[in-house]
């Protein structure tokens, strides 16, 4: 159970407070409701590049990191296709420093050319390090445009290509800031050894004077239902053949989300899971096999991916995956198996309450979903899932004419 208090400032900024007196630390987490899905198709990778620029100094504070380190704090941030999330942890008695820093960069950035120059390079190196200079590193750069044709999920957060980052201009940066980095487009969570009254005073002092800005109304082109099986074959300097299969599934707010999450657990959570036992251990077709969901806000993907044992053909391997999926469509999962994955989820949720930062991030994310209180109803939502739900969604989802499959092959095999 993660308790919280909630209020909204006059400029529209939502503030949540989680009091936890067991720690001497505090967390300030701010979620901006903007991700790679909000980018211009010709300027992809921008939400993430922008995240880097948020550390390049703000209108009144030339250096963001240094004053925070000076009070014993640390910070970081991440960008996804849906959101951009920034967080600070620091000794609770120095919490005001976090308000000072975080509010100033919501008020305005320094927009320094030097910072833009450097971060274009840093992000280009990140692109190389994580996507281009790794075996299988570019899978998502290929799979996304195969599975999505209209929706902006068709590119990854790092962007479609290096040139989009290299060509970013200061005007782009300023426009992006004005459009997305407004109080009414953000959710602030303060947690740890703090009191709600104190947080309220600090929020009113540092954040309330920031102009509300214009409301950003998201109007994304939605994906049309997929009606044909899509495949693509890639040949690269990798040692093993691999298969990546994706299926369309509903977005995070759909009530079936919990069934899909459990379905992926049945297939591949841990060493008792179906794919691990059947395809890796018994049939020895894969040396590595996984199923997971993309958990995106707009309709997402259900992924099955694996690396093939040398000598196994992609046809055999793919057929074996389908056999497991067909089983889910034909037979109800047993109560024991369903209870097993539910118990595991319950544990994960209890263990996640050990981390103050996780609690703060979760509150922000669930508030974005509509209500932070949903976080405390998660276990219940999972428990409600029935074996019939798993069978029904399996039938709705695992159809070859809504699948997108990427064959990632060694150079000898292509």
């Amino acid at each position: 159970m993660v308790d919280f208090n909630r209020f909204t400032l006059a400029n529209g900024l939502k503030v949540l407070v989680h009091e936890d007196a067991t720690t001497p630390m505090a967390v300030l987490n701010i979620l901006y409701d903007v991700g790679a899905r909000d980018e211009d198709p010709e300027k992809t990778g921008f939400a993430h590049l922008f995240e880097h620029l948020m550390f390049g100094g703000s209108v009144n504070i030339p250096n963001y990191d240094e004053p925070l380190q000076r009070v014993g704090g640390e910070n970081n941030a991440f960008t996804s296709n849906d959101i951009t999330n920034y967080y600070i942890t620091l000794p609770a008695e120095n919490i005001e420093t976090a308000f000072w820093l975080e509010s100033d960069r919501m008020l305005g950035l320094a927009f320094s050319e030097k910072s833009l120059d450097t971060q274009r390079n840093v992000v280009s190196e990140e692109f190389k390090q994580r996507y281009l200079n790794q075996p299988y590193g570019d899978v998502w750069l290929k799979l996304r445009p195969l599975a999505y044709k209209k929706h902006s999920y068709r590119w990854a957060t790092i962007g479609k290509e290096l040139s989009h980052i290299e060509n970013a201009t200061m005007d782009d940066v300023k426009a992006f800031f004005k459009k997305h980095y407004t109080p009414q487009n953000a959710i602030l969570v303060v947690g740890g050894n703090v009191k709600t009254e104190e947080v309220k005073k600090l929020a009113e002092k540092w954040f309330e004077p920031i102009p509300a800005g214009d409301k950003y109304n998201r109007d994304l082109v939605q994906e049309e239902p997929q009606t044909e099986a899509r495949t693509e074959t890639v040949k690269a300097n990798v040692p093993l053949n691999a298969i990546y299969m994706s299926f369309k599934m509903p977005g995070r707010l759909n009530q079936d989300y919990y069934s899909f999450d459990l379905l992926s657990d049945i297939l591949s959570r841990g060493q008792s899971s179906r794919l691990y036992n059947s395809l890796l251990k018994e049939q020895k077709l894969f040396s590595d096999i996984n199923a997971y969901i993309s958990s995106s806000l707009d309709p997402g993907l259900f992924i099955v991916e694996g690396k093939l044992v040398e000598g196994v053909t992609t046809e055999t391997a793919e057929k074996a995956i389908w056999a497991e999926l067909e089983k889910l469509k034909a037979e109800l999962v047993s109560e024991t198996e369903l209870t097993k994955v539910k118990n595991k989820v319950e544990s994960v949720l209890v263990f996640s309450e050990m981390s103050l930062l996780d609690k703060a991030m979760n509150l922000a994310y669930y508030e974005l979903l509509g209500d932070a209180a949903l976080l405390n109803q998660e276990t219940e939502s999972f428990i409600k899932v029935k074996a019939e739900d798993i069978k029904r969604i399996s039938n709705e989802t695992f159809q070859s004419n809504s699948s997108s499959t990427l064959y990632y092959l060694t150079e000898e095999n292509a």
Partner: protein
Amino acid sequence: MLNRQQAPDFKQVSTINFIHPEKKVLDNSVPVFTIYSGEQDLVRIEFVFENVNWTLEKPLQAIAVSTLINNGTNKLSAKEIAEQIDFYGAFFQTEYAQDQSSVTLYTLNKHLHSVLPIVKDVLSESQFPQHELDIYIQNQKQKLQVNLKKNDVLSRKEFAHALFGDTAYGVNIKAEHYDALKREDLIEYFKAAYAPNNCTIIVSGKFDTTSFKLLNDTFGKDWEKSNAVKNSFNFTATAKQFVYTEKPEALQSAIRIGQLAINRTHEDFSGLQILNAVLGGYFGSRLMNNIREDKGYTYGIGSGISSLQQAGYLFIATEVGADVCSAALTEIYKEIDILKNELIGEEELDLVRNYMLGSMLGSLENVFSHADKFKNIYFAGLDYNYYTKYIEKVKTITAEELLALANKYLTTDHFTEVVIGKK
């Protein structure tokens, strides 16, 4: 009127409280250290075993046993073990590290009595079935093939081997080592290492006297002792060495440089940690400021000092654009030279002090982290006085002391320099 140019007042962290464990002993003399917290209804129990009987002829014995230990006993198959652990929502994790192997159970309190017997069965009766070993060998060899395509992984392997040679700390594992694995060797290692007289139990979470009785009833008897010899190595400083593997198609080069140093038991260790922070130990470090934030050569660069039981070493690691690899190396050595020749300014030193104290406070986030802090000192043969002295050192170290440490330990003419990619 709000003055946004004025930083709010702040305080340096003054007190940091460590939760000390309570020590008890099982009937068979296994020590149990418990860090208690009643906040959540959960517990973590770690069974820590020293690595033993090292032989270069069988370098994968300990690693394979660690991974395969839950793959079958006389009573349960691999699948049954996994199903039962998962059914109770518990987590069973094994970890192999240079000095120790551990088995960790995470569980909600309500399922402790159900899962402990499974863990006991695994720790005392594991069988290492041949068909499970065959799958392991095949799949590990495939994973190794993928890893050998990663420049960062290659640089770690080369660096460790250059410093530590053919010991457990440095042996360069190849596919043929997997092929040579024999079931008898795993059983032999399992019996030698996973014995009560080689075990320390560290508990953190909600764990009362009833839970302890349960633990004692399960693990305090019917568990065979062994006569194993704890691994022991001697290392001597190496001369300057260069390892360069050219990868013509590389977009980035992985750099890893450094040398043998001291471990936690040495009186200079805390000071060296502070020096490391200045050089590359945090986001605002000199290496990050220069090579990422000023030059944009990399997504990240860092330095570290690692404390093993029988050695310590320091390293600097990064992945940089292949075209700027030489320039990055030049800048790294330049930063080291500055530390050896110029005093660190008071403003920077103050920042590092405050950052490190805040970081220490923040690293004690929950009962698990308190247990981790205890393990750091206990297995190094130290007590909580180590942390008292560490905090004192962070608060009081002078720029002169840091300059002396830089000259004593950053002796670049003894560095091992590994580059994988292009220069």
